[in-house]
Structure formats: structure tokens, C-alpha cells
Amino acid sequence: MNYLTIALFLAATLAVSPVMAADHASHGQTGAVASATAPVDREKVWKEILAKPSLAVSADFDEKGRLWLAAMRGQHIYVSYSDDRGVTQSAPVKVNAEPENFLGDGENRPKIIVRKGMIYLSYTQGLAKPMSGDIRFSRSTDGGKSFSAPITVNDNREIISHRFDSMAVNGKGYVYIAWLDKREQSAAEKKGEKYNGSAVYYAMSDDGGISFRRNIKIADHVCECCRTAMAVDTDDYPVVTWRHIYDTNIRDHALVKLDGKMAPVRLSHENWNIAACPHHGPSLSIASDGIYHAAWFSNAPERHGLFYARSTDQGKTFSSSLNFGNFEAQPAHPYVLSLGSRVYLVWKEFDGESTGIFGMRSGDGGKSWSAPAKLASTSDVSDWPLLIGENNRAYLSWNTKIEGYRLIEIDAEIK
């Protein structure tokens, strides 16, 4: 393998503006909305959005400490690896041989998980109509030398919104993908009825990703364009969280374990009443001791900013939420990672001149936290921050237009 391949690959190809708010989704596509949106050439605008380059880079470590990266460039997803914490990267390998359009703006990004020699990828393909997409999946069984032809996971094939995928792989190698799905809304519209929001669906593969079983609905009436999050519990069942719509427009979060028994519970209680989608979804990590750690954003008048809560009873109940981040600095896009009883949070802030990634750490399973510390900054556009863990070390994974891709060990930065 050629090690000398340009580390600049990501920096150069992804050095572009992420399109904030570029897919403030297909909210309330009722007849009234359809006619109201008629004046603009929506399909043209949509195509322009799909053509915009994406700064999104996703990362994972394999068991040997090799860093794997997935990024969207043009009409292909590329996977590369690094054995020196991202400083130099292997020649990127094309995932999809046939060109496709991707959603790589806002909270969209490719997902990559590397386990036991397998590389799993999920992403959202952009379709012809505005705000439409399909959930796609590909895998590599030969250590990233080649990837399977992507398959479409959603079994509803209307040109509607199937977007905002999240993925998890459990100890048995079962692959789970959850996403937001507008099929109910589409069916209602055909009958001249209204349907509030999207539904959230999932599908699982018990053959390592060769095929997926039928799609199963998790819940109706969820917020249309916020990322979903998934993590695997210690009993190997996946747990999903998303921004739900309670009542007419209370957009707080819900969570459920996909064990066939649990009903969704309400994770957050800010009572954010908003007739819009904030484009700001939750994050979830489940520790080896079984504690659930969740982080999210709200802009409710009474309780706003970033929040963290933990559950010691498999998500049935959550602790009262911890409000963190500087609300005067646009705190955004929190991400949580647990490594045993150590828990990490990172998020974005903006001070008027530059964007900073802040982090804080808990050594006792999320009961108490360090003061926030600035881990990195940039003075132009950037991707959302992610956390990945390797050999008991937590890293911030972050791509920026100016500096390119960075991997920063967090314990070295937080005193």
C-alpha cells in the first residue's frame, strides 16, 4: 500500500463550505405546502445542493489502532486509512463504483464502522425530487481493498425522504440501520390527509450486511431533519434516539431499545415548541458498564443550550439534565463518547471570530465533569466534531476547511 498518498486528500477535496441549513427538510408537505413551494424551481435548487461539496468526514478505529476515514468527494464515497493518527493517509478507495448523488450537508454524513476485519458503510443517496433520498449500505470484507456494490436498505422505493441514517454493529456482527422515513406522510398525502413530521424506521442484517430484513417502524411523528443516533447496549441490542414531535410541535428527544419489548421513552423535557426542524440531532453512547450517555441541543425559551443526561436502568429513566456550553457562543452539535467509566463530551462554539471545539471529561460515569477546555479552533467553515475511541484513549475527529482533517487526543488537552 502506498503510504505516501497525500494527507492533503481530505483537506483539498473537502475544503469547501458545509451548507448550513441546506436541507431544512420536507416539513409538512401537504397540498398547501406543495402549491406554496411551486414558484421556485425546487428540483433545480435541490440539484445544486446535491452538487455542493461536503466537509463531512467520519472516522473509526479498528482493533489494531488503524484509523479509517470515510468522505464524500464528487459522486463517490472514499475510504482511506492512517497508521499515524491521520497525519498520512492511504490511497483512498472508491466505495460506490457507479456515481451517485449524496447528502453531505447539515447533519448528513457517511457512517463508517470497522469491526473484526469488516468495514461497514451507510449513507444517504440524494434522489431526483427535493428532500428525497435512499438509505444505502456497502461493506468491505478484504480490509478495505474493495467494497460491495451498495444496496438500498429502505424497502419503500418512492422518491421521498428516507434520510438521516445511523448505524451500529453488535457483537454478533448484526448490522442495524435506523433512519427517518416519509412513507407514512406520503401515504397520508395521497389520501388527502395530513401527517405531522416523519416516521423513524430501522432494518437489521444478520448476515453481516449481505442483505437486510424488512423495514420496521420504530415510531410515528418525529422531527424531519435532525440526525438520529444509535449505540449498542451490553446485551447486544441497539438503542436509537431521535428528536421526536410531542403534541403538535414540541420537539424534544425520544429513545428506545430495539429489543422488541421496550416502548419509546422521552429523553428530554425542554418543551421546545417550534414549527420548524432545528437540524440539530442527539448523540448517544453506551458504556461497557451499561450506563447510557446522551447529549442534545434545545433552544426552548426556558431551558436552552446543550444538555447531557445519563441512565443507569437501560434507558427507562434518565438523570436530570446537565446544561453545558456557553449559550452566548452558539454552542452546537454535541457528541458523547464513553470508554468504561470515563465519558467525554465535545461541541462547537463560536466567539465572534473563530469556531472552537470544546470538550469536557467525566471520570465517574458522567456524575461529575471537568471544566470545559478548548481542544481546537478554526477561522472558517468546519464539519461537526466527532469522538472516537481506541485502546482506552478518546480522540476528537474534526475536519475544517483551512486546516484539513485533525485527530486530537483529548486527555492530553483537558487538565
Binding site: 431544512h24 408537505q29 414558484p39 420548524a276 426542524c277 452546537a332
Partner: protein
């Protein structure tokens, strides 16, 4: 092109909104650092509404239809529309506003890809959710009584109408 845009705005001012929907393209000003302060300074003491919207936000487009109704009934309403799209989409933005007879409203478009920077000048507490609307009340005495109200999400006609009636002292 520019002259044509200015002309069309003038025409609209003359003909008012009760007439046929505007068809001409209007000037969309580039919204950069300092633009928000410029919008506010130009209106000291007067009531106005600043609405942030995007072509890709369906709630926003529904809201524009509501604003069309409102401005038709209350042509005095000083409405500033800021699109968070890019300058490349200027034609689509302009066409959209024209279709909603919002050609008289002062129109801007984000002209900096580092949108955090623009949002920060508007409001440190705004994370980019759309639509986002700011209501600037008229001065009562030397100060604004209810200085600025910020609302995220689609607004209802009635609540905006109530504010307009109060601010413009319309019975």
C-alpha cells in the same frame, strides 16, 4: 440588470401591493459582516420585522405565503427578508420573492460561507434554525418598550397581525 432591479422596486413602490404580483427581479443585497447593524441603524426607533429564511426550508416558504397576505393588508409594514442561501441562488430567491409579491421588502442573501460569523452578529443565541424572525418594536419615548423579540419556527398570521396593528397603531 441592477438598474432594472431598482426600477422594478420603484414601480412596486408606486403601484403598491394590491396590484398583480411582482414579476420583475429585485435586487438582493449581499448580507455580510456589518449588514445586520446596517439594517437596524437605518430604522432607528421605527418598527420592523427581520425574517431569516431559506429556499430549502419548507416552513419558511409557507411563512412567506403568510407574509404575502400580511403585507398586502398592511403595506406600511417594514419587512426585511434575509435568505440564508448563497448568492449563487440569487435568481431563485428573487423569483420566489416576486411570486409572493414580496418584491418591495428589503431583500438580502448570506454572502459569507462562514455562516456562524453572520449569525453571531445577528444574535449569539441563534443556532441557525429556520425560519427565525426578529420583531423590532417602535420607540416609546426614548426607548423601545419591548426592544426585540426573536422567534424560531413558522409564525401564525394572527400573532404577526396583532403585532403589526399595535406597532403601526392600526385599528
Amino acid at each position: 440588470m441592477k438598474r432594472f432591479g431598482i426600477l422594478s422596486v420603484l414601480c412596486l413602490a408606486v403601484w403598491s401591493f394590491a396590484l398583480a404580483p411582482a414579476i420583475a427581479a429585485q435586487d438582493i443585497k449581499p448580507f455580510v459582516r456589518g449588514s445586520y447593524q446596517q439594517i437596524i441603524s437605518a430604522r432607528q426607533g421605527k418598527p420592523f420585522i427581520v425574517n431569516f429564511w431559506s429556499l430549502t426550508c419548507n416552513y419558511c416558504v409557507v411563512e412567506l405565503a403568510m407574509l404575502k397576505k400580511l403585507i398586502k393588508k398592511y403595506p406600511k409594514l417594514d419587512l426585511v427578508l434575509v435568505s440564508t442561501d448563497t448568492q449563487e441562488e440569487e435568481k431563485d430567491i428573487s423569483a420566489n420573492l416576486a411570486k409572493f409579491s414580496l418584491g418591495k421588502a428589503e431583500a438580502w442573501v448570506f454572502a459569507d460561507s462562514f455562516t456562524e460569523r453572520l449569525r453571531f452578529e445577528v444574535d449569539k443565541k441563534w443556532q441557525g434554525e429556520l425560519p427565525r424572525t426578529y420583531f423590532y418594536s417602535a420607540n416609546v419615548g426614548a426607548r423601545r418598550a419591548m426592544p426585540v423579540q426573536a422567534i424560531s419556527g413558522k409564525l401564525e398570521y394572527k400573532e404577526v397581525e396583532q403585532w403589526v396593528k399595535q406597532q403601526y397603531a392600526i385599528q
